[in-house]
Symmetry: C2
Subunit: 151 residues, 2 copies
């Protein structure tokens, strides 16, 4: 599904961008938060919270559910990570500096997910909700299906 050539590069660039964003905004990118973000970025398959927990236990931490969920809360709030509600899993944001018209393609065969953006989509959605005089706060748009490589 993905165009990522060298995933090590992919991870490192995500980590350093996260570092910058936190610095710019005076947010504390602690070791725990870093490690959780890195674990999420380990693959393009969205990570489950309890899988992250198991991996954390293998490291220095005395990790328990709140350990992971608190780190996830931080990463979600800062926009470094997205939660995919349709599969209860977490994926690193591929462009954490701007979030416009994002949606997710999730392959039910290889389990990889890809974040996409489409201005036309945003426009269509805005048009639709304006008709309903609705003030949107959060949009969830996830497409489950088969990616090009898997079909």
């Amino acid at each position: 599904m993905l165009d990522c050539q060298d995933h090590e590069v992919c991870i490192e660039s995500a980590m350093s961008e996260a570092e910058s964003i936190c610095q710019e905004n005076g947010l504390r990118f602690t070791e725990l938060r870093k490690e959780v973000l890195r674990l999420i970025w380990l693959s393009h398959v969205p990570a489950k919270a309890y899988d992250i927990l198991e991996k954390l236990k293998g490291k220095a931490w005395s990790a328990k559910p709140p350990t992971v969920y608190r780190a996830l809360d931080f990463l979600l709030e800062t926009g470094l990570v997205h939660k995919l509600d349709s599969i209860n899993a977490y994926i690193g944001c591929s462009h954490p500096r701007e979030h416009n018209g994002c949606y997710f393609l999730i392959c039910t065969d290889c389990n990889e997910a890809k974040e996409c953006c489409s201005p036309e989509l945003t426009d269509a959605i805005e048009l639709a909700w304006n008709k309903n005089s609705f003030r949107p706060q959060k949009v969830t748009l996830e497409v489950l299906g088969q990616c090009g490589e898997c079909e």
Copy 2:
């Protein structure tokens, strides 16, 4: 949020349409399934599985979690009910004979949800996924925010 004038009528028409659909398709609309659908339609606030369970217990059933989840599975498969993944709740489908370009507006104040359709939306989404050579199987589109009455 809703234009429903008389909710009794709203419920009864949903129930009788469900009855018809099941009959047409040779599906068994058992008492249990009927009751669960009716409980979901009790309000336009999406129903939580365990709330349905509690209400069922007040009736004739010896209800346990699988009782509810199996009825929900049936109703979801037949398209009589939708699951809202962003809030883990279930809502009656307002037009179960055709599902095209549906999405949901969910008010975080009054908790009501409204099913909407927008062909432009469907088109924009299809355009977007075609670019990615992705074969969609299920689309989740939910907008959390404030409805007209609540803002």
